[in-house]
Symmetry: C2
Subunit: 209 residues, 2 copies
DNA sequence: CATTAAATACCTTATTTGGGGGGATGGAAA
DNA sequence: TTTCCATCCCCCCAAATAAGGTATTTAATG
């Protein structure tokens, strides 16, 4: 906490919350609020001048949503790290935020100390997340244990999902084309589908692949 | 830190490190080491009896690797949360560990206090990660900004990557099959490939989709 | 030891898809 | 104004796909 000097901008429409953060951050050595805005449109005009290292961004904003604002803000201030600070914990929002370039995702029940630590962490190249968010993110990597597919079938469906032809899959797995076809037949029948696309979708939705 | 009572098992082949963790954890109220093993094979026989809430697992083990041990351990002790504790920070290892069912991933330079906090966090359904790991995980969600593809082309390539046929893509996007084919031709030429599979692979590798 | 499940392989047939070639148009953006 | 984007149209043909059925070998489990 000695000689760090972090410039922070807020984008948050709720005045009470915004003032809370301003107070929290302004009263801590090494952290400085250089800009405070109520919407993306508001921020867009002036934020580049504020030279923020970290931007704390609400999801629910008047006008453009926080999620959609991320790439625009990153264009205006490419080196800034965006941390989403919100009450929402829906998977889709979280993944869209991260895909759009957020460096972190915190829920609003995050204690003040953790918020400050997260700002520092983001600036140092980390990816601060609330613990339940982190778990959701981790779970998105995980497979279901109750797949009806055998390991080999799973492997082949994965290959299909990469767009490879059956012939190519056969070559790469050192098996006959006919074997690949057999596996696919079994996959379709187990998943009760009649096409590649449906098999891939069903398998992904259920985390079989 | 009052009345929690966490049973912890270690799987770590380096004696010095293992003893370090034993000491750290054993000397903290609410944390108890109920088993300590040097390999998966060693753990397999006895770990169920130890009733662990959290398993701290090294990646590099003699015999079966820590990564491959995760699903086997989860089968033996389904309710345990596995935290990987390792020096390795390679993306592939991390993603494989998470896909295999790890609840967290820490590097060995993690300070003792953070290790204890992470154990508690994992038990409460969180996903503890070292900050650089978290960033890698977050980055895996992100797109490149310098894609040569137009938004429409990107959209179509995404559809192709789901396994849908051109005809179906045309129907779902309310455009003509010929339009889809044109886009695909342009995609292939921009990416300098000559097949679906190559386009998907190149686009995924470069995070265009 | 008997049974089952998994992975392997073979056959046929009809249809769809994929990749490559050409060119055209209207509108938006630079 | 010229380029880029999204849209649409024509041609060709080899390759891939889906669906039907059957069969062998090995490994695991009871």
């Amino acid at each position: 906490m000695q000689d760090l000097n972090i410039n922070i901008c807020l984008v948050e429409d709720d005045e009470t919350i915004r003032e809370g953060y301003e107070y929290l951050i302004g009263n801590n050595e090494g952290y400085k609020i250089t800009g405070s805005f109520t919407s993306y449109e508001d921020a867009a005009k002036k934020i580049a001048k504020c030279d923020p290292d970290v931007i704390l961004l609400d999801v629910e904003l008047p006008g453009i949503s926080g999620i959609d604002a991320i790439p625009k803000l990153k264009k205006l201030v490419p080196d800034a790290h965006v941390i989403i600070l919100t009450v929402y914990e829906q998977e889709l929002l979280i993944f869209r935020a991260l895909a759009n370039g957020a460096s972190g995702y915190l829920t609003k029940d995050t204690p003040p100390k953790k918020i400050l630590a997260s700002i520092k962490e983001a600036m140092e190249g980390g990816g601060p997340m609330s613990s339940n968010i982190a778990r959701m993110v981790i779970q998105s990597f995980q497979r279901s244990e109750e797949s009806p597919l055998t390991p080999r079938e799973t492997e082949i469906l994965e290959q299909i999902a990469t767009g490879k032809s059956r012939k190519r899959i056969a070559e790469e797995l050192f098996i006959d084309l006919e074997t690949v076809k057999s596996h696919i037949k079994n996959i379709y029948s187990k998943l009760n589908v009649h096409s590649k696309a449906d098999a891939i979708k069903l398998a992904k939705d259920n985390k079989f692949i």
